[in-house]
């Protein structure tokens, strides 16, 4: 597959993935742009791989995980969780929008690697093996990252339901 074709096919998906792991669309744009320009330079090699998309996704993920300004990312997340807290506690549990936004806020404050694993599973529908490849770790690490993330989200979900006076 040629580079231009790859970009045409995958750019939008890649931006969606990067936005979901970074929770910052501008940072996501910067990372994707930078990665694609680097990938283009060695496309002969990447293009001939079995799964170029997986490899490029790995580049994007690495860039984000090694991104040094961690504080800023956390600030965005904190800001969002702050917002979530102000979602009226009397909200109708059937209000799916509020529920979703609250979940978004909780995902945004997860550790970066856990969030990446979560996004790969629930947005990219990757198998454990594929996630391991993207994150550059073993499958058992993937499983533990995912279960820790889910546990955190579940704890919060329970707490939230409790304050709303409903049982999930």
């Amino acid at each position: 597959m040629g580079f231009d074709q790859f970009v045409t096919d995958r750019l939008d998906r890649l931006l969606g993935y990067a936005t979901a792991i970074t929770c910052d669309k501008h940072l996501a744009q910067d990372i994707v742009q930078n990665v694609l320009m680097r990938a283009q330079g060695k496309w002969e090699r990447i293009g001939s791989m079995d799964a170029p998309y997986l490899y490029v996704k790995r580049m994007v993920t690495n860039d984000y995980l090694s991104w040094r300004r961690r504080r800023a990312a956390r600030e965005i997340a904190v800001e969002r969780s702050e917002l979530a807290r102000h979602v009226p506690s009397m909200a109708d549990p059937a209000d799916t929008h509020a529920e979703r936004e609250a979940m978004r806020a909780r995902i945004a404050v997860l550790p970066r690697k856990q969030r990446a694993a979560l996004v790969l599973r629930f947005y990219e529908d990757c198998s454990d093996a594929e996630i391991a490849q993207v994150l550059g770790c073993t499958e058992s690490t993937v499983r533990s990252q995912l279960s820790r993330a889910l546990q955190t989200l579940r704890t919060h979900e329970l707490a939230r339901s409790a304050t709303l006076g409903v049982h999930s």
Partner: protein
């Protein structure tokens, strides 16, 4: 709960930017390769210089150190970096004892001497390497350096609530989102970053952009006074690093009010290729002479309007 997670992640992903914008950016960046890959975070020359001025101004306010004598002039190298700590903008500044300043923008893609590395790659290796190269190139001593992550600059622009600039022609560019009429005006909010970020469709390319930064910086410097300085300092302090042993309080004593700034851009010679990367060579004698002249206050005065 898994469905909720799925929906939440999808909602997050749906915030992504339009892929057509990114595509256009990629294509244009490809064409502009000879000038160096300018991708991602904007080059905000102004931010670097502004930070060096703002921070000490605020420190002075809180520490209230009495200035016993007129401080000596200092040459400061200002390094604007992106989020990845790569050098995006270089400014060599001379701050006089009376608080006036001369700044010279150094194009990033310069090769110094016979080094295979362009100047914008040196800071990441070692700040010392960069200051040595600048001293070698300009023949002037680098007394201190300050590096700032320029993404903090959006906040500064917000705090001052607008800066006066003058455009010689209207600027409209869907890519950066800039949409400004010709003439003297106050740019504020989103237009500030767009104005500084526009790099395509400028006749002079990166050079025009540098001029914009300088115009903006001059406008911003005129606004640095009073309580605003403290707020500005607070927002950029996290994003700035200075060399150890720089007595910023002593440095700050020279700033009594709005800062007068004169700006210039170092002329470069022919484009050269080294190790498959292109950049610019500089004439050593001419460069030294240029810097000396500027620092002596003999340079031409900046045009009031920029393109």
């Amino acid at each position: 709960m898994n469905d909720l997670i799925r929906q939440a992640i999808k909602a997050e992903a749906d915030e992504r930017v339009d892929s057509r914008t990114v595509l256009a950016d990629l294509h244009k960046a490809k064409k502009r390769k000879p000038l160096g890959l300018i991708v991602g975070v904007a080059t905000l020359t102004a931010a670097a210089a502004a930070a060096a001025v703002i921070i000490p101004t605020a420190i002075k306010k809180t520490d209230a150190s009495p200035a016993a004598q007129t401080p000596a002039a200092q040459n400061v190298l200002l390094i604007g970096t992106d989020e990845y700590h790569r050098t995006d903008a270089l400014v060599f500044a001379r701050f006089e004892g009376d608080g006036s300043a001369t700044i010279i923008s150094l194009p990033r893609d310069i090769y110094v001497g016979s080094s295979p590395d362009r100047i914008n790659g040196l800071y990441m290796q070692d700040p010392r390497k960069l200051t040595d190269a600048v001293e070698q190139m300009t023949g002037s001593k680098v007394d201190h350096w300050a590096a700032i992550n320029m993404s903090a600059f959006g906040q500064i622009a917000g705090i001052v609530g607008g800066v006066e600039v003058c455009l010689s022609a209207p600027a409209k560019d869907p890519l950066s989102g800039v949409d400004l009429p010709a003439g003297k005006q106050v740019v504020a909010g989103d237009q500030v970053l767009a104005f500084l970020r526009q790099r395509f469709d400028l006749t002079g390319g990166d050079l025009d952009r540098t001029k914009r930064h300088q115009a903006f910086l001059a406008g911003l410097a005129a606004k640095i006074a009073g309580d605003k300085a403290v707020m500005m300092a607070r927002s950029v302090r996290e994003a700035i690093q200075v060399d150890q042993g720089w007595d910023v309080v002593e440095f700050a004593a020279r700033f009594q009010g709005p800062v007068k700034i004169r700006t210039a851009t170092l002329p470069v010679g022919e484009a050269v290729q080294r190790d498959g990367t292109s950049g610019f060579a500089v004439d050593p004698a001419q460069t030294k002479q240029f810097v000396e002249k500027q620092f002596n206050g003999e340079g031409p005065v900046r045009d009031e309007c920029v393109s």
